[in-house]
């Protein structure tokens, strides 16, 4: 759950940011720009923050795995050695605060299976070829500093600042939620039929780590995609099956997609220049981007899927 009753005035709860770089020269500054966007959105969500970066793709035949551990930090190097032994090759851990990312010479599903068997105490944040998810309970500005988000480059990224209204404030309850390989979801809003949906999805074999409603939306997308639908079809399914209000941003290896519920209680603004495409809960988070004054800015229509990417989402 994220964000409370919007009412007439679209309540100031939770912030979403997405930034897709069109000009390769700007990819090195992705982290710097997303950090500034998150800072602008921190008053919408002071409880916790998170990001998903798409960067530095793993070589063919390898996958990237982001893990999070509770304090005290585990011996990440030893876990890297175990991964090397199990799969024949793994990068040294790239540690950021409580998270570590490994490139493993194996398919992501095999590594995920091995981790849940041998290291059930570690939480899998993301898996895929280019995605890296980092998130933490606490003020967004502190998160950005502790994880050195400014230093991250990449082709695109999503971010979230959370103001919890129902479920607890923990790192597990923070966004983004992984929804499959190289996929993630950030959500502003709240769902009212998440308990029934979670029960139904569990029967379909979808696993949930928390009682959070946004995780149910992520699980719903995972399920629809697993059934062979395109991301666009899966998002359109949300319009029928999810009860509540939401602005979603979904990250893919190619770009990102945005959907607002038909009532559109939750705000969203988009803007585009020759250099970038951005979406945010409020324009002030876009105003910090270079060339924002010259950008074409608009409000996404309710109930319509918008997407950007190197390859079409459908």
């Amino acid at each position: 759950m994220c964000g409370g009753q919007g009412g007439v005035y679209s309540g100031c709860m939770c912030g979403i940011a997405g930034l897709y770089i069109k000009s390769p020269a700007m990819e090195a500054q992705l982290g710097e720009h997303l950090s500034r966007m998150l800072e602008q959105l921190s008053f919408r969500g002071p409880d916790s923050a998170g990001v998903a970066f798409y960067r530095d793709p793993a070589p063919a035949g390898s996958c990237k795995i982001s893990l999070c551990a509770a304090d005290p930090a585990p011996d990440w190097a030893a876990i890297g050695d175990q991964l090397t032994n199990a799969f024949g090759g793994a990068s040294p851990p790239r540690v950021r605060a409580s998270h570590a990312m490994f490139v493993v010479e194996a398919e992501a599903e095999r590594v995920q299976g091995w981790l849940s068997e041998h290291h059930p105490e570690l939480r899998l944040m993301s898996a895929g070829s280019s995605i890296e998810i980092y998130k933490q309970a606490g003020p967004p500005v502190e998160f950005v500093r502790r994880f050195q988000i400014e230093q991250l480059d990449g082709s695109h990224a999503l971010g979230h600042t959370r103001m919890a209204t129902e479920s607890r404030v923990t790192t597990e309850h923070s966004h983004p939620f992984s929804t499959g390989l190289d996929l993630c979801l950030v959500h502003n809003g709240s769902l009212s039929n998440h308990n029934r949906l979670r029960r139904n999805l569990r029967r379909e074999g979808i696993h949930f780590q928390t009682d959070n409603d946004s995780e149910v939306a992520a699980g719903y997308l995972t399920w629809r995609l697993r059934e062979g639908e395109s991301l666009e079809q899966a998002l359109e399914g949300c319009l029928d099956d999810l009860d509540g209000f939401y602005t979603f941003a979904v990250g893919t290896s190619d770009g990102f997609a945005v959907l607002r519920d038909p009532i559109a209680c939750k705000p969203a603004v988009m803007a585009e220049t020759d250099e970038w495409v951005a979406m945010a809960s409020e324009y002030r988070a876009i105003a910090v981007l270079p060339g924002a004054e010259q950008a074409v800015a608009w409000e996404p229509e309710p109930g319509r899927v918008y997407s950007w990417g190197r390859a079409p989402v459908a």
């Binding site: 005035y9 559109a264 603004v269 324009y283 229509e301």
Partner: protein, 234 residues
């Protein structure tokens, strides 16, 4: 929309270096009409809210929520887009948005004129209580929801559930209406309405939009406890 007569020399306020609160305090404490130029608004909220003097405020760029809210007497021109709730609860004066406006534009506004040259999104003129709203483009869903008094003029199209639970506000739409809300019906566009609409378009300085091309919508008066034969007693 003429500038106030006793206008003083223009004051320039840069929101990159000065806070919105400082700007608003100056606008509140200056009771003599002033001409004010605001630069670098960068989507900040609550710019130029609560003015009670006939200031003439120009804002160069996009603004956030509630711009010119509760306005009395002042003229505000935004050279950009507006976030949620521009001119909400306006009492009088004029607000002109050269770009588009987000949700709930002129919500609960009691008087004055809001002109949006782009589109206005959902809930435009929600609970309108007497202000006039003229939108050059289109409006989103649930516009003029429970609007009690005043007018909403839409030169483009209207989204779903226009005028749901409408009271006595007048709605004029030039383009299509996706659906009408509960108790909102199309009404005859008589000469007096063409005249009224022409005046509104003239006040909004939209001289290329003929009043004759609009349709009129209003309340069927079946949903709320109102009997038109008692109109004289209200």
């Amino acid at each position: 929309m003429a500038a106030p007569d006793a206008i003083q020399e223009a004051l320039s306020v840069d929101l990159a270096t000065e806070s919105v609160r400082a700007l608003n305090q100056r606008l509140h404490s200056d009771l003599e009409p002033r001409r004010v130029q605001v630069i670098n608004p960068a989507g900040r909220h609550s710019i130029a809210v609560g003015m009670a003097a006939a200031h003439d405020v120009e804002i160069d760029g996009h603004v956030g929520y509630y711009c010119a809210g509760m306005n009395q007497h002042a003229t505000v021109r935004v050279h950009g887009n507006c976030g949620v709730g521009v001119a909400e609860n306006m009492m009088s004066g004029t607000v002109v948005v050269e770009g588009s406006a987000s949700q709930s534009a002129a919500s609960s506004a009691r008087g004055g004129l809001l002109v949006v040259h782009g589109d206005a999104s959902a809930r435009c003129g929600i609970s309108l209580k007497g202000a006039e709203v003229v939108v050059r483009g289109s409006v989103g869903h649930m516009s003029a929801f429970m609007a009690q008094k005043g007018s909403l003029v839409v030169c483009g199209d209207a989204g779903e559930a226009l005028g749901d639970s409408l009271y006595e506000a007048r709605l004029y739409v030039r383009g299509s209406v996706a659906t009408l809300g509960a108790d909102c019906v199309e009404k005859e566009m008589r000469a007096e309405h063409v005249e009224h609409l022409s005046q509104l378009l003239e006040r909004a300085e939209l001289d290329d939009v003929p009043a004759s091309e609009f349709r009129r919508y209003g309340s069927a008066r079946e949903l709320y406890n109102f009997h038109v034969e008692n109109l004289g007693s209200y």
